[in-house]
Symmetry: C2
C-alpha cells in the first residue's frame, strides 16, 4: 500500500480510538512504515501510548526501525517488563546497534533487561571495533551437522528457525564448531529427504573474518550476491552471520561518508534534519579553517610576485594576468577533483589498487594531455574573441599565449597530482577521500600560481 | 577460500591439464571468482578454451559475472548450440542486461538463440526505460494461489523452483494474475502442511510499479530489508520481481554517479581501468570547458574593478587585496560544496524533500553564521600575525577588517546558495548533483568577488 494511504488510515483509526481495527491494520503493515508514522505524526507522549497498542509480535520489529532519539525516549518510558519483552524479541546485532547509540544509564537498563546468556553475548559483540565485521554480525543462525539428512535439517529449521535472523542459508559445522560447509534452503527443498547434508553442501565457502573491515564485507556481498555470509574467528569456527540488509546499510553509509569527506566535512551518520546547527558547524569548521589557512600560501605567492608583475609594462599587463588567476585556479581545481574523485571511488569499489598506480598515471597523463590541449586552445580563442574583441581588454597574442599555456600545464599537472595522491594516501593507510577535492584544490592552486607567475615573467618580462 | 589460493590452485590444475580435477574444484568455487580468474589470468584464446571446460551447470553463472568485453568476445567464439545453452540457463534480467551492452549483430544472435517464448519476454523487458524498475526485473518467480495448502506450495516450489531467481518469497495471485499477497518460505516452513496459503500470506505488500525510478527501488530495499520485491503493472498484475542483489548494484551505481557528477564528470558506469583515455577525456572535457568559460565572469569582474582598486593608495592596497582573492574564493567554494554535497546526498537517500527547504535554509543560516564569525576572526588574526608580523606585508587593521568581513559574508552566502540550489534543481526535475560542487563554486566565486571589490572600495576608497 502507498505510504500516504497507510498514514491516513492509521491516523483515522487511531483518532477514533478504534484500537481493535487499528491492530488488524498494523499486523499487515510494514514495520518501517509504522515507525515512520509514529515518528512523523505523533508527539512523544502519544508515541509511547501508540507503541503499547502494537501487537506483541510487531513491537520489536517497529522498535528497531526508530531513530535513536525515539528509541531512547521510549526506553525511558518503558517499564522493566516492557523493555525485557522488546529486547528478548530483537536480534542481537540490532540490540548491539541500539546500545552503541545510547547513554550509559540506558545501556545499563538494557543489559539488565537481557537474559544472563544474552548479556554475555551482547558484551562480546560490543568488544568488536566499530568498523569491523564483528560489529555487524549476529550469532543467531541455523547450524547443521554434515551427517544429518535433509529431513533432519528441516526438523531443526522448524524447531529453531523462528528466532534466527535468516533460515535460508544454514551453516554446517563439525563438533568443534568449525565451519565446513553451507547449504541453502533451496538446496534442501530440491533434494530428496534421505540425502545427507554432506552430499549437497558447498564446501568452498566465502567467509568473513571477525576483524575484517566492514567496507570489505559490503563489497563481498556485492561481488557474490549471497543473502548472508558467515563470520569466522581465527580458528575457523563460525561465530555469527551477516545478512545482506546490514551490508546494504554499510554500503550507503560508506558512500555518504566518502561524499562528506570529499566535500571537506567530518563524517556524521545522523540524518541531516536531525543534526543540530551546532553539530553541523562543528563538523565543518575544522576543515574550512585548515583550508583557509593553507590558502595563505597562494596569497603569499601572489604578494611575492607582485613587484615583478607590476613592473611588466607599468602594471597594465600585471593586472590583465591577475584577472585570469581565478579561471586558472578553478580549472586546475576542477581538473584535479575529477581525477581524484574517480580514483577515490574506484578504490572504494575495489576496482583499483596501489599496484595500478603507473597504469592510472599513464591513463591520466593521456587524458590530461588531450584536455590540456583542448582547454588551452579554447582559452586562447576565448581571450581573443570575448575579452579582447568584445570587452576591449588588451589581451595581446603574447599574453593570451602565456595564459593558455599555463592553463594547459596546470590541467596536466592537476590530473597527475589528482590521481596519485589518493593512491598514495591509501598506501600510507590514510583515507583516500581526504586527499580528494579540498586538498587537491589547495595544492593545485599553489602549484599553478608559481608556474603562472614564473612563466609570465620569463616570457613577457 | 581466499582469492589468491583459488587463483593459484586453478592455474596449477589448468597448466598441468588436469581437467577432471579442475572441474571438481570449479564446482566448489564461486562463479564471481572463476570469472575474475578467467579475465585476469587468461588471454582471449585461452578464455574460450577454459570456458568450455566449465561444468555445464556453472557456465551461465560464470558468464553473467564477466564484463561486457569478455562476454562479447566469448559470444563471437560460441557455436550456436553453446550460445543457446548459456542463454537458456540465464535469468532473463541478466540476458537483458547483457543485450543492453552488445552491438546489434551480437544482439541478433542472442535473440535467435533464445526460445520464441523467451524472445518475446526479452523484447518486452527491453522496452522499459533504462532507469525504470521494469529494466531491473525478471519474470522468473514462484506464483501461488490463495487456496493452495502449504504442502501444495512446497510441491510447486520443488517442481518449478530450479529456474526461479528466488524461491524464498512466493507471490500469491488471483486468476487475473493480480498480486494479492506474499508468502515466504519461512512462513511455509513454520506452518502446518494443511494450512491454506490465504491464512498465512501477508496482504498489505510493498510493491513497485514498472516505471518507478530504479533509485526509488533501491531505497525501498534499504527501507524494508526484503530479499525480493514484486513489480506490478497499472492493473495491479504482477509482471516480475526484483531481487536484492540487483538493488545493491543500483545503489552502488547511483552513489558512483552522484560522486562523478559532483566532481564535474559525465557519469560512466564502466570501471576506471577499462575506460579508454579518450573516453575519459570525452567525459570530462565538456564540464571543464563550461566551467572555464563561466569563470570568465570572475575575470571580467576583476578587470572592471581594476581601475578603482589600483587608485586605492597608488595600487599598494589593491595588490594586497588581490592577494587575498584566492583564499576568499576557495573558502567560499569549500563552504558552498559542504552544504550542497550534504543536501544532494540527503536528497538521494530520501531524507529531505523540497518541502523542507525553509527548515534547511534556516539550519544552514545558523551553522553558516557560526562558521562566518569563526572564520572571520581567525582570518583577521592570521592576516595580522602571519602576513603582517611575520612576512611584513602592510595589512593594516582596516584592510584586514575588510578581508575578514568579506570572508564572513561569502561563507554565509555560500551556505545559503549551496543548500538551496540542489533543492531547487530537484524541484525543476534537474539532477541535484549537477548543482553541487562545480556550479556552486562558479556562482560563489562571482558573488564573492563583487561583494569584496565593492566593500573594499566603499571602506578603503
Amino acid at each position: 500500500m502507498e505510504k500516504e494511504l497507510t498514514t491516513e488510515k492509521l491516523m483515522e483509526l487511531y483518532k477514533n480510538r478504534r484500537f481493535a481495527d487499528l491492530r488488524m491494520v498494523l499486523l499487515d503493515t510494514e514495520a518501517a512504515d509504522i515507525a515512520t508514522f509514529v515518528e512523523e505524526q505523533l508527539d512523544k507522549k502519544e508515541q509511547i501510548f501508540f507503541f503499547r497498542l502494537l501487537p506483541k509480535e510487531l513491537a520489536s520489529d517497529v522498535f528497531v526501525e526508530f531513530d535513536s532519539d525515539t528509541q531512547e525516549s521510549l526506553i525511558k518510558a518503558f517499564t522493566d517488563k516492557e523493555l525485557k519483552a522488546v529486547i528478548d524479541d530483537m536480534f542481537l546485532d540490532d540490540t548491539v546497534d541500539i546500545i552503541d547509540e545510547m547513554p550509559a544509564n540506558v545501556v545499563k537498563r538494557i543489559l539488565l533487561a537481557a537474559d544472563p546468556e544474552e548479556r554475555k553475548t551482547i558484551n562480546e559483540l560490543l568488544e568488536y571495533p566499530d568498523d569491523s565485521a564483528g560489529s555487524l554480525m549476529t550469532p543467531e543462525f541455523v547450524s547443521l551437522s554434515a551427517n544429518m539428512t535433509v529431513a533432519d535439517a528441516f526438523d531443526k529449521i522448524r524447531r529453531t528457525g523462528v528466532n534466527k535472523e535468516t533460515i535460508y542459508t544454514c551453516y554446517v559445522t563439525d563438533i568443534r564448531k568449525r565451519l565446513i560447509g553451507v547449504v541453502t534452503v533451496k538446496d534442501l527443498l530440491l533434494a530428496e529427504k534421505e540425502t545427507l547434508i554432506e552430499d549437497i553442501m558447498t564446501t568452498n565457502t566465502v567467509a568473513i573474518e571477525t576483524l575484517e573491515d566492514k567496507e570489505e564485507v559490503a563489497l563481498k556481498f556485492q561481488k557474490y550476491a549471497h543473502l548472508a555470509l558467515p563470520v569466522i574467528d581465527k580458528e575457523g569456527c563460525i561465530v555469527g552471520i551477516i545478512t545482506v540488509d546490514d551490508a546494504v546499510d554499510v554500503m550507503q553509509e560508506e558512500a555518504t561518508e566518502d561524499i562528506q569527506i570529499m566535500a571537506a566535512i567530518t563524517p556524521d551518520d545522523k540524518p541531516y534534519l536531525k543534526t543540530s546547527p551546532f553539530k553541523i558547524f562543528a563538523n565543518r569548521a575544522p576543515w574550512l579553517l585548515i583550508l583557509m589557512i593553507s590558502a595563505t600560501f597562494t596569497g603569499l605567492i601572489l604578494n611575492s610576485y607582485e613587484g615583478e608583475l607590476s613592473a611588466l609594462n607599468g602594471g597594465v599587463i600585471g593586472s590583465l594576468l591577475i584577472a585570469c588567476v581565478p579561471m586558472l585556479m578553478d580549472s586546475g581545481g576542477n581538473a584535479g577533483s575529477q581525477s581524484s574523485a574517480t580514483v577515490v571511488r574506484s578504490i572504494a569499489l575495489n576496482e583499483v589498487k596501489f599496484g595500478d598506480i603507473f597504469k592510472i598515471m599513464w591513463k591520466e597523463f593521456c587524458a590530461g594531455l588531450m584536455l590540456a590541449i583542448t582547454l588551452g586552445i579554447v582559452c586562447f580563442a576565448k581571450l581573443q574573441l570575448i575579452d579582447r574583441l568584445l570587452f576591449k581588454y588588451n589581451y595581446t597574442f603574447e599574453i593570451s599565449f602565456v595564459v593558455s599555456l599555463c592553463l594547459a600545464i596546470t590541467i596536466l599537472l592537476s590530473k597527475i597530482v589528482g590521481c596519485a595522491l589518493p593512491l598514495l594516501a591509501k598506501k600510507c593507510k590514510l583515507d583516500p577521500a581526504v586527499m580528494a577535492s579540498p586538498f587537491i584544490t589547495t595544492i593545485v592552486d599553489a602549484l599553478s600560481l608559481v608556474i603562472y607567475c614564473s612563466i609570465a615573467i620569463a616570457i613577457l618580462g
